[in-house]
């Protein structure tokens, strides 16, 4: 199984909650998104699986995760998952 290293970034107050701004996470290249989220939970202690959709959303390389079918994501080295608050405009 090919391993890739992705970058997970926490925006706004999630930086404080995760106690890290960005962190590299190693995953199998053909991981499903829910598996990646579980790994992020384990590695950072930030309960992303719990908070997703309630407090936060994620952007995968700048695109909303809703726009991906689960089986269409093939992660590459250097891909970015940004954890963003569910927020309105400024």
């Amino acid at each position: 199984m090919m391993k890739v290293k992705i970058e997970v970034i926490f925006f706004a107050h999630f930086y404080e909650e995760a106690d890290v701004k960005n962190i590299g996470v190693e995953i199998d290249q053909d991981s499903f998104l829910f598996e990646v989220i579980s790994i992020i939970d384990l590695v950072t202690g930030f309960q992303l699986s719990e908070k997703l959709g309630k407090e936060c959303s994620i952007l995968i390389n700048g695109r909303s995760s809703n726009l991906y079918e689960e089986n269409e994501i093939v992660f590459e080295d250097g891909d970015r998952i940004a954890v963003i608050p569910l927020i309105g405009g400024g």
């Binding site: 706004a12 700048g62 809703n66 608050p85 927020i87 400024g90």
Partner: protein, 615 residues
């Protein structure tokens, strides 16, 4: 108790000020206006449509200014602080309303007025001084030439600290077309409303109110307010990120999604871009929270520069929009200069969005050799923070080449030519704010159809396109955008008529706002979200009719050539072309407008705009 109006929730009076005749008159607020238009923006739409003749010169005595508040302004309802100032814009020659938070609106309502109509032109500078029913037009020669902060201080010293002041600075006096009216640390910022004050020789309005209003169902209203405060407290935006980071809580997310315009919408990067975010703002600048009247969110910040060449400079802000306009728009990562540029914008009374936008344009022209050092007297490439400050000063004082720059980016591009209109970033003459619609194409439709030109506060589909967790709204496709934009435009009109802040809507839905205004007023016409939304739609159609009367057609519902013809070369928005034509076709259809962008007679009849349908 004074000022007990017959209409619960309303102060009950309209003040008309004729600056030419030096006369003031006070009349009762008509119930028909209330039921048909709610307040705030709705009142302004009706009054401006009826009081401004087509083709009126915005800087002539024939133009009028409306100030209006809503039923929830000045009440306990969370964020009930807003007031509207509306006029025909000298910058765009179309509809303009500018919305301000802070404390000015609540004070105006306490003085007994839901609406103030200012007409004519004084021969000499005057201030309008209002204490409840006592209204006077007072000579203001000694105030002329002063900056906005000094005007406010001087008026309070003379009349008392309890007075709330809205005034112009040097820019408004000199009729700089991007000048603002400043009110207690907040701004009626956009579209050159300061120049209209200047044209009327109106320097300031100082207002003090001691009255109160009646409440239709007191217990119910208090209960609804408590519930609304709870909703705001537990919401991840209004109870979380927005308080911590201010309006810039959104900064990293917008940048990550490829929606942050960089270097006059050219895209790419610049030195320092990666290091600047909401955390650096909080760490380097924020000192205190600031909140508007009745606001539990406190998104406003008081900032002070802690080090570097701008050490000690301070401002209420910087807001996200100005963090962008004086930052990424100008390729500038010197945080202190952003603070100082916003301070100077408030000081002179100029719109900090338009000012930063047009300076970014000047910097691109400089790098392309269209504007030279000989013309400006100094170098002015992207990232040159010293040039940024000098340009703000030249605009504010209307000096040197600043005289042309202060006319806004559309006129500046026409003046200098050389194909610069390709990258003059405005819609209908109003400079674009901090969202690049190639990263969220619905924002392109919102800009193209906004009633005051390039504005982010008439609809904000960006949230649904890139920041929401639910739904599958593709930020690169036309699908769903017309419905999203129309619904926002209509509902934002409701919020801007009620007197609440748009930020409340991230926590409070249609039902909660309906419950609040129903308990307050008891008015049957406000008893459902659908009824309110229909009034919002009516207001949107009325401002459209105002613009059509001024010559606007579907041909004007467009975006700058750069956004249509130039794609971004990196990031999530790489290669995206904005499907504006498809979105507009959908939009006119859902609006009930024809191919020219005119409301059909049938639509106007549906909205009870029967008289207008005959025109």
């Amino acid at each position: 108790v004074k000022n007990l109006s017959n209409i619960p929730g309303y102060a009950g009076k309209i003040l008309t000020v004729d600056l030419t005749k030096k006369k003031v008159s006070i009349e009762e607020l008509p119930l028909g206006l209330v039921k048909g238009y709610i307040g705030g923006k709705g009142f302004a739409a009706r009054i401006l449509y009826d009081n401004i003749a087509a083709g009126c010169d915005p800087l002539s005595p024939d133009n009028v200014v409306v100030l209006a508040v809503g039923p929830l302004t000045g009440t306990l309802a969370p964020t009930g602080c807003r007031s509207i100032m509306a006029t025909k814009s000298p910058l765009t020659n179309i509809w303009l309303d500018s919305n301000c938070g802070g404390v000015f609106g609540p004070e105006m309502k306490a003085a007994g007025f839901d609406l103030i109509l200012i007409k004519g032109r004084s021969e000499k500078p005057v201030n309008l001084i209002i204490q409840d029913n006592d209204v006077s037009i007072v000579a203001a020669e000694s105030y002329w030439g002063l900056d906005t902060l000094s005007v406010s201080d001087k008026l309070k010293k003379h009349y008392g600290d309890d007075y709330k002041v809205a005034c112009i600075g040097q820019a408004g006096e000199k009729m700089v077309l991007i000048s603002s009216v400043q009110a207690e640390g907040r701004s009626f910022g956009r579209g050159g409303i300061g120049a209209v004050f200047g044209s009327k020789n109106l320097k300031a309005i100082a207002i003090r109110g001691t009255g109160s209003i009646t409440i239709s169902n007191y217990e119910e209203f208090i209960k609804e307010c408590k519930e609304a405060y709870n909703e705001i407290a537990i919401n991840t935006d209004t109870g979380g990120a927005r308080n911590k980071y201010g309006t810039s809580s959104i900064y990293s997310s917008i940048k990550e999604a490829g929606v942050l315009p960089i270097r006059n919408f050219q895209g790419g990067s610049y030195q320092g871009l990666a290091e600047i975010d909401e955390h650096s703002l909080k760490r380097e600048l924020y000192e205190q929270d600031r909140a508007c009247f009745a606001c539990p969110i406190a998104c406003s910040k008081y900032s002070k520069v802690k080090r570097g060449p701008y050490k000690g400079k301070h401002v209420e802000g910087p807001e996200f929009e100005n963090f962008w306009s004086f930052g990424a728009q100008c390729g500038n990562s010197e945080l202190g200069s952003i603070v100082y540029a916003e301070y100077l914008s408030d000081f002179y009374g100029i719109d900090a969005i338009s000012t930063g936008n047009v300076i970014g344009f000047v910097m691109e022209c400089y790098e392309k050799g269209i504007i030279t050092k000989d013309l400006l007297g100094f170098e002015a490439g992207f990232g040159n923070h010293e040039a940024l400050i000098r340009l703000v000063e030249l605009i504010g004082e209307k000096k040197g080449f600043g005289e042309i720059i202060g006319q806004g980016v559309k006129r500046l591009a026409e003046h200098i030519g050389s194909g610069s209109d390709f990258f003059a970033m405005h819609v209908k003459g109003l400079e674009l704010p901090a969202y690049d619609p190639r990263g969220a194409v619905g924002m392109g439709l919102a800009y193209a159809t906004s009633d005051r030109g390039g504005c982010h506060l008439r609809a904000w589909p960006v949230g649904a396109e890139v920041l929401a967790h639910s739904g599958r709204i593709d930020p690169r496709e036309a699908e769903f955008k017309a419905e999203l934009v129309k619904t926002d435009q209509d509902w934002f009109n409701v919020v801007n008529s009620l007197g609440l802040c748009l930020f409340s809507t991230y926590a409070l839905g249609h039902n909660q706002l309906t419950d609040l205004v129903s308990a307050l007023t008891g008015i049957e016409e406000f008893r459902s979200g659908a009824k309110l939304l229909k009034i919002g739609e009516k207001i949107y159609n009325l401002t459209r009719l105002f613009n059509i009367r001024e010559g606007i057609t579907a041909l004007d519902d467009k975006l700058p050539p750069r956004l249509m013809e130039e794609t971004l070369t990196q990031g999530p928005a790489k290669g995206v072309k904005i499907p504006l034509k498809a979105m507009l076709e959908d939009y006119y259809l859902v609006r009930g407008w024809d191919d020219n962008g005119f409301p059909t007679s049938e639509k106007l009849r549906q909205l009870d705009l029967n008289d207008e349908s005959k025109n």
